[in-house]
């Protein structure tokens, strides 16, 4: 009997002690963890200061991707540089975020520093199709709240 009370007291002691300690978990989604800027999350396609797309559609990211998650379709860029800084750009650029293993190889291969992995990691969807990020989506990178 006495042993039982002792054990409960010890248990409750641990509980109350832990109550006062700082938390290891976050009350997601109200509060979110900070990540290092080097964190490899969802991709983005960057533009230069004048708003030209940096991607020239060289396809190196596609070639290097070990998960075959990237698809690039290049084309002659529209004249007078409204979109691209040079004469070639990607008309179509897709990343399959289900296949992607976030290794960052594409980022490393890119000769124009166009594709970058952002810290955005909130990747959830109701179907697979939504998980394929197209070019429009990648040009407007999502920001973590």
């Amino acid at each position: 009997m006495l042993d039982g009370i002792k054990a409960i007291a010890k248990g409750m002691g641990t509980t109350f002690k832990a109550l006062g300690e700082p938390r290891d978990t976050y009350p997601y989604p109200e509060k979110r963890r900070e990540y290092s800027p080097r964190f490899r999350g969802k991709h983005m396609l960057a533009k230069d200061e004048e708003g030209h797309e940096l991607c020239v559609g060289c396809g190196l990211c596609e070639a290097v991707c070990p998960a075959h998650a990237i698809r690039v379709v290049a084309a002659e860029a529209p004249g007078d540089k409204p979109v691209s800084w040079t004469n070639r750009y990607s008309v179509d650029y897709e990343v399959d975020l289900i296949r992607c293993i976030f290794c960052g190889m594409c980022e490393e291969a890119c000769p124009t520093n166009a594709v970058r992995l952002t810290p955005f990691n909130e990747l959830a969807a109701y179907d697979r199709e939504t998980m394929i990020a197209d070019k429009d989506e990648l040009l407007r990178p999502a920001i973590r709240k």
Partner: protein
């Protein structure tokens, strides 16, 4: 033979061979830019440096001929240093824009720099800027900054093709490749410079910015557009063929293509291509259309018996498809009415069929009706290669118009239309008048060709040359008889003929089981007109465009209750067809093509058939089901022969020589000559639109003037109540009294007129307000 050692391996090679080629035969790669075996040594780029023992300095492997006992090292510190230096120099002004360069990933400058080059250059001055993406012509772009000045392109056009349309301009580092007077390079062979350029300086416009080696399907195939059957690599991307490149085959061909084949691949994605089944004039689901045709087939066979169904094959089908259709027709349906649709009447027995080696070994070549440049372009290059090696090669032509051109001079005997056989026989008779074979030809009549000296020259070449090769367009069927007589007269001396007519795979269709002689088709059409055929299955055949007697075809189309068509494009007269089924094109399925050499070559698909288009066997399996017969189209048949390998088995030359029909000299009226040309063969191409002639018909300057035609105009060509309105162009190669119109153009079905005497009148030009 010379014996030498390369990297410790011994090899014997013929005298005069360059070290680079000898190494290649051992499987040792010596990096080269400027050297190409077909173009010969130049020594412009210095990329091929190797070390030869007892030579004081590094030697260029492409200009140093092998010598007895030579010891060559293609590796080692000295060679590495040499290569590094050469590459560093080449890269001094190179833009290094690989990310936007079409050659990126398949570029020899990238590859060699990666393998042998220095990690970085020391040159710090700004790079020289030159023209980027400037057009050489509609199909080829040049980026002068990327050029390594190897001169392959310039030398190919100037020396090999003989049409010097590219040149080097400027001096030193300012040197660039450009076109003569900055006009577009119009040669039929200009596209080959894209394959020849070792770097990304010359690019194909249709492939510009399209793909990379890792996101394409690149498969070995064969060009289906003419009977040469050039070997190709087809590049497929996202379900479309986007590029065709030449594919060299060691010791057989250099991988040249003509622009028709290189840029004409878009017929498979032409807006005119049918990719949905048609039933009674409406689009229909594939399964329903196939089932309906199967039911009709069952009814017809049940009611009228198997022989009331006739199968006519044609078009771009593979040999395997022909064989499957043959088996279906004979085993499942049980009919004996089989035929092949071709544009010309001539037939060449297998025994006389030569190969391209017969061009390379010929000492006399006779072109019968055919102008290789326009009909079988790559054969023109082969002939020219032979002519360059042996300038006293005798080249004769027998045709109603002048054959050959500056780059391949031909002595043409200009005949009246339909008299080629007669003139050939006359030439033969002039040299061996008493030979029994000549007697059997029973030469009668007056061809109007009485130039005794020329006839004698041709006769001498025909009879006395050691290795005689003929090219024949098949338009004039009696030539077959003369060819057999000729082979008989020549006995043991080699006599070989290359047939230049289509469909490209007619030998394959024949090998698959369909009779190639036109008589079979004529018989079927006559029977059909007489009501003996209830169902006519036209497998790729477009009879109104192809068959010589369009009148008969019209009658058949009105008589036969069930006409079932299949093909890539809706044929003429498709209103009469109960059903039309879309076919898979040669780039979309595996199979074989047999070319004009009777050589079997395999096709590997690089894309899937679009829409409802499907290969023959899909239809056949479904119909066998309707007929409640068991049939598996996929058997293990292939056209290869166990003994003759990729050539069809050799057959004896037929012994009977049919007598020629007598000719009479026409009374000086206009005559219509026809033939099959590769640009105007009726297979559509949007890309080649600018190369397709606006005016189909050709007239001599004399006739044009007589008719009051300016450089271009319209004429009306008529005979026997049939008439054709066609645009003409004035052609110096035409002879007065002849008008030439190519066969097979859907908008101008000249087969309904037929060759021979016609009325030609100028049409007043209608000026639209």
């Amino acid at each position: 033979m010379i014996r030498l050692t390369i990297d410790g391996q011994e090899i014997s090679v013929p005298e005069g061979m360059m070290i680079a080629d000898a190494a290649a035969r051992l499987g040792i790669e010596v990096p080269v830019y400027c050297y190409h075996e077909a173009l010969g040594p130049l020594g412009a780029c210095r990329m091929c440096l190797v070390q030869v023992e007892k030579m004081p300095k590094l030697a260029t492997a492409c200009t140093t001929a092998v010598a007895e006992g030579m010891v060559v090292h293609t590796q080692g510190a000295a060679v590495d240093k040499g290569r590094k230096g050469v590459l560093e120099f080449l890269l001094i002004n190179h833009p290094l824009d690989c990310p936007v360069c079409d050659k990126g990933g398949e570029c020899f400058l990238q590859d060699y720099t990666f393998r042998y080059g220095p990690p970085a250059g020391r040159f710090e001055e700004p790079k020289i800027q030159k023209v980027k993406d400037g057009p050489i012509n509609e199909f080829v772009l040049i980026d002068q900054e990327r050029c390594v000045l190897c001169q392959r392109c310039v030398r190919f056009m100037e020396e090999y093709v003989g049409e010097p349309q590219l040149l080097l301009e400027g001096r030193g580092v300012e040197t660039v490749v450009s076109t003569v007077e900055h006009r577009p390079a119009q040669s039929q062979f200009a596209g080959n410079v894209v394959d020849l350029c070792p770097v990304g300086a010359l690019l194909a416009t249709p492939y510009h910015h399209k793909a990379r080696p890792w996101n394409i399907e690149r498969q070995e195939s064969v060009c289906p557009l003419c009977p040469v059957g050039c070997t190709t690599l087809n590049t497929g991307r996202d379900g479309r063929i986007v590029r065709v490149e030449g594919r060299p085959v060691l010791d057989r061909n250099w991988g040249w293509l003509c622009d028709r084949g290189r840029f004409g691949f878009d017929f498979a994605v032409s807006p005119d291509r049918l990719t949905v089944s048609r039933l009674q004039g409406h689009d229909e689901a594939a399964a329903r259309a196939t089932r309906q045709v199967g039911q009709w087939l069952e009814q017809v066979v049940g009611q009228y018996g198997p022989d009331s169904v006739a199968f006519v094959i044609g078009g771009l089908h593979t040999s395997e498809e022909a064989h499957q259709l043959y088996r279906f027709a004979t085993e499942v349906v049980g009919t004996s009415r089989l035929a092949m649709s071709r544009q010309v009447q001539g037939y060449l027995p297998r025994g006389l069929n030569g190969t391209f080696e017969d061009i390379a070994a010929a000492d006399a070549v006779v072109l019968v009706g055919t102008d290789p440049y326009e009909a079988v372009p790559v054969v023109h290059l082969k002939l020219r290669e032979r002519w360059r090696q042996q300038r006293d090669l005798k080249l004769f032509g027998v045709a109603p118009r002048t054959l050959g051109r500056e780059t391949l001079p031909v002595d043409t005997l200009i005949t009246h239309v339909g008299h080629e056989a007669h003139v050939l026989a006359q030439a033969l008779a002039r040299v061996v008048p008493d030979h029994p074979a000549v007697a059997q030809l029973a030469i009668q009549g007056d061809s109007g060709f009485d130039d005794a000296a020329t006839l004698a020259q041709l006769g001498q070449a025909l009879v006395n040359s050691e290795h005689l090769t003929l090219l024949w367009d098949g338009v004039e069927p009696e030539v077959e008889s003369v060819l057999i007589a000729l082979a008989t007269v020549r006995g043991a001396k080699v006599t070989r003929v290359l047939p230049t007519w289509g469909p490209s795979n007619w030998r394959g269709l024949e090998r698959g089981g369909f009779p190639a002689r036109l008589e079979a088709l004529t018989q079927i059409l006559k029977d059909a007109r007489d009501g003996k055929v209830q169902m006519l299955v036209l497998w790729g055949a477009d009879l109104l465009r192809e068959y010589p007697d369009a009148q008969l075809v019209q009658e058949v189309y009105q008589t036969v209750p069930y006409i079932i068509g299949e093909g890539l494009f809706l044929p003429l007269g498709s209103e009469s067809m109960r059903a039309f089924l879309p076919e898979a094109s040669p780039g979309e399925m595996a199979g074989t093509y047999i070319n004009m050499e009777a050589r079997v070559q395999t096709l590997t698909p690089s894309v899937q058939p679009p829409g409802q288009a499907r290969p023959t066997r899909s239809y056949l399996n479904a119909w066998a089901h309707s007929l409640k017969k068991s049939f598996v189209a996929e058997d293990d048949w292939d056209p290869f022969d166990d003994e003759s390998g990729d050539l069809l088995p050799v057959e004896a030359i037929p012994a009977t020589i049919a007598p020629l029909s007598p000719v009479s000299q026409p009374s000086g009226e206009m005559e219509l000559a026809t033939g099959v040309l590769v640009m105007e063969n009726g297979i559509p191409s949007e890309l080649l639109r600018s190369r397709k002639p606006q005016a189909l018909a050709r007239l001599s300057p004399v006739d044009a003037q007589r008719l009051g035609l300016s450089a271009q105009g319209m004429v009306r060509v008529a005979r026997n109540g049939e008439e054709l309105r066609v645009a003409v162009t004035v052609d110096q190669a035409m002879t007065p009294g002849r008008i030439y119109i190519p066969l097979g153009v859907p908008s101008c079905p000249v087969n309904k007129i037929g060759t021979g005497v016609v009325e030609v009148a100028r049409l007043e030009e209608v000026h639209s307000a």
